[in-house]
Symmetry: C2
Subunit: 602 residues, 2 copies
Amino acid sequence: MAENLEKLRHSLAHLLASAVLKIDPRAKLGIGPTTEDGFYYDFLFSIKVDESLLPKLESIMKDLISQNLKFVGKKISFPQAKKIFKNQPFKLELINDLKKYGTTDFQEIQLIKAKKKKAKKLARVTIYQTGDFIDLCRGGHIKSTKEINPQAFKLIRIAGAYWRGDEKNPMLTRIYGVAFKTEKELDEYLKKQEEAEKYNHRVLGEKLKIFLISPYIGKGLPLLLPKGEIIKNILIKYMRKKEEKYGYTYVATPHVASSKLYEKSGHLKYYQNEMYKVIDPAEGEDFYLKPMNCPHHHLIYQELVKSYRDLPLRLAEAGAVYRVEKSGETYGLMRVRGPITQNDAHIYVNEQNLEEEFLKVLDLLSEVYDDLKIIQNYWFRLSLPDFSGKNKEKYGGDLRLWQWASKIINNACQKKKINLVKGLGEAAFYGPKLDMQIKNIYGKEETIATIQVDILVPKRMGLVYVDKNNKEKNPIVIHRAILGSYERFIGFLLEATKGDLPLWLSPIQVLILPVGNEHQDYAEEIKQKISDFRVEIWPAEESLAKRILLAEEEKIPVILVVGEREKKNKTISLRLRHQKDLGEKKIEEIIKLLNEEGDIPN
Amino acid sequence: MAENLEKLRHSLAHLLASAVLKIDPRAKLGIGPTTEDGFYYDFLFSIKVDESLLPKLESIMKDLISQNLKFVGKKISFPQAKKIFKNQPFKLELINDLKKYGTTDFQEIQLIKAKKKKAKKLARVTIYQTGDFIDLCRGGHIKSTKEINPQAFKLIRIAGAYWRGDEKNPMLTRIYGVAFKTEKELDEYLKKQEEAEKYNHRVLGEKLKIFLISPYIGKGLPLLLPKGEIIKNILIKYMRKKEEKYGYTYVATPHVASSKLYEKSGHLKYYQNEMYKVIDPAEGEDFYLKPMNCPHHHLIYQELVKSYRDLPLRLAEAGAVYRVEKSGETYGLMRVRGPITQNDAHIYVNEQNLEEEFLKVLDLLSEVYDDLKIIQNYWFRLSLPDFSGKNKEKYGGDLRLWQWASKIINNACQKKKINLVKGLGEAAFYGPKLDMQIKNIYGKEETIATIQVDILVPKRMGLVYVDKNNKEKNPIVIHRAILGSYERFIGFLLEATKGDLPLWLSPIQVLILPVGNEHQDYAEEIKQKISDFRVEIWPAEESLAKRILLAEEEKIPVILVVGEREKKNKTISLRLRHQKDLGEKKIEEIIKLLNEEGDIPN
């Protein structure tokens, strides 16, 4: 089924190339693979093109489909192939690679060149013909175009792409298409994309004045506007309250550290390219912006812990870290250079208590996501080392220690009846980890929370405690981030709710609208009674209808309208977000609602 | 009176030099001026010296004093002077300077060399003789040593100092003395110094585990340990609550910004040497760690403000900034490279409302310092520009605007009956400012809070709003920091209270001590009842007396002892910090105490 869809998409790529040559016979062809939702094909056009070309190409492709053309494969010799593609320089390059290396895969070719791999000897190459169009292609096609539903594909986008992804090569024009079995699937997909474009957090963030990207600060360095800061502050308060209940203590560490720290922790060796260096004009000492909070916390461990009696130590920090990103790859609050304000904590524990502490972290995690309700379709991935694989050297230390730590996580997950997807070879360099995964608004998998067991760095950093038998030991460290980073979490929240944040997280919780200026006093009186909450009054400078419309656009969850009748009856007229007027209510009912849903959950 | 004390101190410096020559006749003499509390003299010894020399020197000085020696001044010619000081190379250097430039003042000599000032012509130099000791000296002495109370001075310290403060010159040995009119004054001074050494925030910070300086992070980059972080967090929560009441909204901005921002704001021109540069390994764009939050806030202003209706805008942030300091000049939490977490806010206001907003800031300030009680002996300094002085060019813009802004501050202070000390020429480059001053534990003046009126940067940064007449205008900005920086404020708090923080700011508020293991359950029961506060139980692993001692050392304000009697009577035995056992109390009394004094003040 899935394989068939692959074939269908790849066959559509051939039809796209065939259509392009009908419009621009001198176009040079790149390659045309499938993607997660469809396919693309790269072209060097001899004519000027833009998105207006897409419907024309679609129409030619539909015409080809209606002809019930067969996809016919054929093996031919290298000289024959060169003759067929004599006017297609990119294809000729591929043919030469096939001859020389037996592959067109760039990475494989590099390995062969570096003599780490042997070249395969090919006697012939494969071509596929559909109608009058011939492509160099190793295959994977449907039998005939009649298998394609002409209403179930669409060309969606034009983009630039360097030939073979190398910026030294010419820039080609990439045409993207999406394709499904049925028209219904396509429609659903397109609708979802449209929704995603409308409700992605960058769009909502701008509309709701949550954050700002300014060229004067830099790409990937968002500023939280008052409404964004409120959400962040409430989330931090919420997590701190929970964490303090679970026995965490907070610390506050600088955003920079001497290179000495990162030499000791190993970051400078492994992560230097992801770290921003800081220059001291006075003394020339090298500092770095911290890319993680752990080494800082480890120093605090050394200050506070002497014996097993001091364990477990649970250090938490809403610590802002910075990591190198290319400006072009930054994305709203989701992918930033910084601040990445981690919901960070490090739990230092002896071996005997690792499972118990891991279970407590799982308890905290489910408590939090139960409260939040919003993020629901998540699953867990256990990332383990792969000692058989080629990245074996990545995993330092003792194999038995790795197996032991992996087993502890497994046991804990079993006790909590957590279903695991396992990822071999995906562990951190210092130990196995459990990630909580979600799909973002575009359907892409993302990690939202992580719990990592560190069996290596404590030893490397010289973290010790004296056990009951007066023996020096290294603790195990659980690194965990229940909400990931606060900025990123705000992004997820906005997208998951389409901006309709729950009452306790809404920047403005209650809006009071006096019908006329003569009701302003009464509005103030109501505001006074609910002053523990975030309340605004919008005076009668605009019409009531206009103000209600603006309030809906601002996603304010509770609107209280007060006019002559309400003033006289000592009531308010209630409107909840996306609902009509719910009629006159007593202020006590509003206070009850706010007390129940407006405060940080316990 | 004060002049006389100066003379007395300077005369003691001569006696010190005389005493030194009696012990080391080959010692070379530097200079011996007065200090704030006494005097010093610099020597190049031919013998090895340490602090054990000080009592010997004191004893010789006392002997000289008892001889009722006269200080006799005399004017002599340059050749005569050179003859007298032929074995004193530093004195000869000074004599040469006097001949050439008419002064020994280093800065003056530089001005003369640069031809910005004319040399004075001197015909003779002055020498002073006391007993057999002669010094090159312009004078300012008492008449006779009998004016000196030999019990009212003390040599206190030896330090190294380069000749004339220049590191290219030889390192001399500086001997410091303190001197007063009466023995009582000396005793009081020494006691105060001893207290300061015992209760300075670095000592308390280490003892109470408030913060940590680690060579792996760097000097001047303190990490707040759990107990320090709690104090910071409570102070931030306290200020935010107050500020929200006063209509401030919070924002959160990155710790770095592109050089473009600081070019626009003028910081790169004026403050580049105080800013840490950040290197981006991926794209080579220049960033800086922010030395101030204002330029970031100005960008948010531009996003949020269109018209006069949007004013005043009060943006607040507990924003961490970093400023270059030499490692040798950093000091605990008081003088750091960072984080300097500013209790920062910027109030954007139109001209008509400046006084009103300034008054509101003064209201907030007095509300806060009334709550805090701890910081009491403060005064205010109004820093104005000096348009007549030599730094005139420092103050940009329109003279009338400066006068207008200064008058507004003056008026506001008059309305609040604030007495002002005025500092001409001490204004910020962008406007006049009002600073709240205190004396630190060593008696040195420090700024603890600041309110600054900015009449220049809004224009430079292009901040505008449209007024009632549809005209574009620049706002005025009030920069204000009521608690200064949180880290520094914690330092002041520790020193002002000698570590006895008030209940609401204490990291551990209540300690419960079960007399024996059999009272642990009851202790837990009590803890449950006051779980909204910061409570610890120290189990009966150590004797009660030992635990009480440790608790006193940790400065815990409330100790509840629970034993057999208390368990039976459903009571606790109360001890308040530095008090004896206050007897059995009902738990309700403790809850009352905690509710009254344990929460953040309203």
